[in-house]
Amino acid sequence: MSDGYILQMNNITKTFPGVKALSDVTLNVSEASIHAICGENGAGKSTLMKVLSGVYPYGSYDGEIVFQGKKMTFKNIKDSERAGIVIIHQELTMIPELSVTENIFMGNEIVEKGLINWEKERKITRELLEKVGLHIDPNTIIKNLGVGQQQLVEIAKALSKNVKVLILDEPTSSLNESDSENLLHLMLGLKKQGITCIMISHKLNEIAAVSDYVTVIRDGKTVDGYAVEAGKVDENKIIRAMVGREIENRYPEHTPKIGEVILEVSGWCVEDAKVPGKMLCKDSTFYVRAGEIAGFAGLMGAGRTELMRSLFGKNMGIFRSGTMKIGGREVRINSVREAIKNKIAYVPEDRKGLGLNLLDSIRKTVVSANLDVIKTKGLLDFDKEKAVSEKYKDSLKIKCRDVGVGVSTLSGGNQQKVVLSKWMFPEPDILILDEPTRGIDVGAKYEIYKLIHELADQGKAIILVSSELPELLGMADRIYTIFEGRITGEIPAEEANQEMLMKKMTITA
């Protein structure tokens, strides 16, 4: 072993036609440590991990990988897994219809005389699940597990392959706070057992909590790397290194101009369409004023998204009771179309799954929620469509070659700007933003925050749903907390702090 490093990636350079994705990147990982890699979206983190795990085979990049003192030449993922390097992707790769056991042994089945030995597989699965702290039956079907549990099963699967270096790509991006904490705890446990973890993450507080060493990558180059002491990380230093510029405020300054109450919801109750008797929203009552940003804090599964989608034309669950007033007048909205007509807009949390048609171009997407406006004599007018999309491209600084290009070619931040344009175009009075900055890099986040402020200043009532408490504290004027479908608190932002919000998000009363 050289210098106590279990893994060294030396001078890695990877070029795609026309783009240098990585240039001269060096990564040194000590044995039994937690090594964090951070960087903006598109900085090259994922590419580096793909080089490491053999997705990009040996020979397609320059530089060398030294693992446990030996030079490695991985030709595919199987090679790297055999050596003990396992990657867990951001999007989970479990097969939903199969059991935990079947998933863990997928491609590695224990076969005796041509048949699978289920007893043995189940026994090993039980042991593995024990190791990751998951107390479930190995026969459980994956789709019946929560995302957090699925992730633990992924880790159990990695353990079954005798993993030495575990790479976690944005492991907590789809987890709620308690599952995230659980996962970070598990990583510390794995470290004690001698397993090295490489964690790619946007969440600086998580990096601060568990990592021993941070490497920052920017524009395909290693820009900074230093050892950290758990619990003592200068977050601003990491942010500076990531974006290469000083961000004085992660949230822009803003003085709200608050007006009349626009949206008033009272006694809103929604039942789960799939689980009879289970209430998604219980007696929710709240209001939002013009020019105000009302934050909604709640853990995933608390019913934030369910409440918002129910308000947006009864799009989720079965509506049971409740009233909704817009500008003092009671309205009954039963479809998304009617919601749009009543000047409500909803930007969903799942950008690719719910916000965009990835086959469409920017121009088609921008006008898609308000087609009637771009018609001339009853037919869609392409000139108007182009003019509208050019306007939003300029005002939101959407980086693209042309508004005719497909939205699938854009980065996450630019895609989100396109979705925001789509919902700004119908000129809503009430704008519901569900996790508007998820998976977006720091620079683009700042731009979106500024945009939200502008929209508020235009007198729109804004609902900001977020699972990042600092974001709510930095952006919202008033914060509601939700727990198990019930609104458990209403706090003016200047009086709120993270501990207090978290308490209301986890305990009723």
Binding site: S335, V336, A339, L359, D360, D372, L380
Partner: protein, 390 residues
């Protein structure tokens, strides 16, 4: 290359099938000793294949929403058989007969649309059921005997544009007029496009690519006009071709320039996102299936008009030709992708293959084999291209 792109647009890939079509026509013309590019053969080609292309128009939208309709042949056969029987029994005039066929198509479409949109049963299943139900229905109500249709319907299936005006033009004047209108409409739309080209960006495009485009269209349409118009006396551009052209324009407008068209692509591309954008997904499903069956009835009318009687086997395996046309035209099985024009080119490739192989005396058995390979090759080529781009 730069100049070609200026004339045809950035995405040259969409012209591969057009080039393939032109190549096929030329190759068959040489191989058959000049029997391909003649007035009578082209007239036959159009009137003999119009019904498949009409089906393909509806099938395109069905495939774009991510569904499939296997029942179109049976619906076409059933609606024209009901039409033939009622018209004969009650001695109805031809226009009532046509109305009956269209209503039957509409009912069949509503039936299948109901199962898809309200009960969520996939189109593959509902229309597989429909395929059997309506095929059985045809045989049942007709007692397995062909029924003649009102003679006026022949005009729809095998008629020609009327003859009029001076003889010095040397061709059928209706066809000539049609050709002139087509060229004029295209030229005007291009000139309009040119004059408006600077409106948004403030940068006017060059004029010459517009001129070249108008020139190319004038030559192609002009040649086609002459070809169709200069056949033996009494023949000209076929009526089913005219009906097809009107439908192509109509469906081009529906798919590209209406909200409903956008909704069709939106539902096919991402159903959940479409729903959250205010699209009524169920309504879109329903109307698309309804529309398909109405077009199936139109196809049935064109076909029985040509054969003068409704037969019990009419429509058998038409769905396969329609589906093949759509996929040769580059549509995606997963939905969301496909255009009217590309589908028509795809359908013409199939039609030219059929026709050309027949002219060369290749048997129906071998023709079938060749068509199968062409379908596979076209889709494989498309998939390969997309992979290399992305």
């Amino acid at each position: 290359m730069k100049y070609i792109k200026k004339v045809l647009g950035e995405d040259l890939r969409q012209y591969t099938m057009v080039v393939a079509l032109a190549a096929l026509i030329i190759i068959f013309n040489i191989a058959s000793g000049g029997k391909m590019v003649t007035s009578s053969n082209f007239q036959n080609l159009i009137s003999g294949n119009a019904y498949v292309l009409v089906l393909a128009l509806g099938m395109l939208m069905v495939i774009v929403i991510g569904q499939i309709d296997l029942s179109v042949g049976s619906v076409a056969g059933f609606s024209s058989m009901v039409m033939a029987i009622t018209a004969r029994q009650f001695n109805l005039p031809w226009y009532v007969a046509i109305l009956i066929a269209l209503i039957i198509g509409m009912i069949a479409g509503a039936w299948q649309g109901f199962f898809l949109s309200r009960l969520g049963i996939p189109g593959f299943i509902t229309t597989l059921g429909g395929m059997m139900i309506f095929r059985g229905g045809v045989i049942w109500i007709s007692n397995s005997i062909s029924v003649p249709v009102p003679s006026e319907l022949k005009w729809f299936g095998a008629g020609y544009l009327p003859e009029w005006g001076p003889a010095f033009t040397g061709m059928n004047n209706s066809t000539l007029l049609l050709g002139i209108i087509a060229i004029a409409v295209y030229a005007i739309s291009q000139i309009k496009k040119f004059t408006h080209s600077g409106d948004v960006t403030g940068k006017k495009e060059e004029f010459w690519p517009f001129a070249v485009r108008i020139g190319i269209v004038t030559i192609v349409v002009g040649y086609a006009t002459w070809l169709f118009g200069s056949g033996r006396p009494g023949t000209s551009f076929p009526i089913p071709g005219l009906i097809l052209m009107i439908l192509i324009i109509l469906y081009y407008l529906i798919t590209e320039r209406t909200s409903f068209g956008r909704h069709v692509y939106a539902v096919g591309g991402n159903k959940s996102a479409a729903e959250l954008s205010g699209v009524n997904v169920k309504r879109t499903y329903f109307l698309t299936m309804l529309n398909m069956s109405v077009l199936a009835a139109v196809a049935g009318i064109l076909f029985v008009g040509r054969s003068t009687a409704a037969g019990t086997a009419d429509g058998t395996s038409w769905e396969m030709d329609a589906i093949a046309s759509v996929f040769i035209g580059g549509a995606a099985v997963s939905g969301g992708v496909g255009t009217v024009i590309a589908t028509m080119v795809g359908g013409l490739v199939m039609a030219v293959l059929n026709n050309g192989l027949m002219l060369m005396g290749v048997g129906a058995d071998k023709t079938q084999v060749i068509k199968g390979f062409v379908l596979l090759a076209a889709v494989a080529f498309d998939v390969y291209n997309k992979k290399n781009r992305g």
